[in-house]
Symmetry: C2
Subunit: 231 residues, 2 copies
Amino acid sequence: MRIGQGPKIVAVIWGDRLLELARAAKEGGAQVLEVRADLFEKVNLADLKKRLKEIKRKVKLPIIATVRRRDEGGGRRYTERQRLHIFRSLMPMVDAVDIELRSGKIIGEVMREAKRRRRLVLVSYHNLEKTPPNSILKDIACRAKQIGADMVKIATLAKNRQDVARLLSFTYQCPHKPLVTISLGRVGSISRIIAPLFGSRLTYGCVEAPAAPGQLDVLHLKEKLEKICVT
Amino acid sequence: MRIGQGPKIVAVIWGDRLLELARAAKEGGAQVLEVRADLFEKVNLADLKKRLKEIKRKVKLPIIATVRRRDEGGGRRYTERQRLHIFRSLMPMVDAVDIELRSGKIIGEVMREAKRRRRLVLVSYHNLEKTPPNSILKDIACRAKQIGADMVKIATLAKNRQDVARLLSFTYQCPHKPLVTISLGRVGSISRIIAPLFGSRLTYGCVEAPAAPGQLDVLHLKEKLEKICVT
């Protein structure tokens, strides 16, 4: 996966119909797939690895593997040890991993493994309660870069449109690039379309059910992005 | 005219069918009218004053009178003396005037007259060639406030989406409020919808032909603003 220029649409997928969803995502305009291992009802790692290989071969889109922590919006509650095991197992089949900055116990190991295999690492920060002050967000982005993030992702709940405007303004000004930002929640939904205008490099869409509050579907996202000429 | 909270849609009108356009503007969702005296083919001041009175009575929307300088996007080339005369003549019939910061010779007089009559003054800056650095824009907004502007308006050409993002980021951060910002040109068109999210207080739309590059029509503007919940 190359980071490249311009924003990319990421389709968030999980579950039994992974290949089907991956195909629908590509057809709808997604340029990257994110497989959310934490959202599967049950993960059979051997089976998931096989299916990721099949998707790589048949759908030919870069894949990000994510095992979101429960306290940052994840589905299943995994121990850090389990998460590390999933990351290690999937790493050979994917192009990138997304790991929370807060994963203190395992982030170093995931980072080393990714660098060794030449996989990209997105270091992410999610706040489902509020959008912290920009000085704190800047510090988060700085720390993520310092530990080796290829890309920093910040997703925070917007309580009002001031929160949205502030995060977008931060996106434009933050020196720790490349950066992805998302204002979560209903009022933040607009950020999924306009954050790319401010330099956010990825925007996440769903194929069927949203994986996060305010997420739009891939096709809708593509049309909107084209309209404002950021693709 | 009260500045109030939240963004207002301003319909830009001029010409022979002023009353008809004012009515269509109101119907389309405009909350303010801007009458562009510089865009009339020929201005008969006595007649225009009568028509403004009629619009006030029948359409009941606040009116801003503008006599745009040619070098800031205006139509007819008036001398400063002529512009001052038009401002003075129309002031009793309108709620606000818009005058360029660059109108060094007459801005003091227009300001005094407006304060005496308790009219609002928008002090504007237009740059049809580029979007100057934010430090310069901040200085412009500061000077406009210093000379007594009730509202500062900055409209600058966006050559690319970085220019748009930068002006929006400026809008959010500039301490010299209330502020109106517009990125002119095709690529800047999006700013007419999203600048209100960043705190811009007015957004200008046309009823028929656009009066500035990238201007959208009032109805379209209203729908879009409602969609992103800034109205």
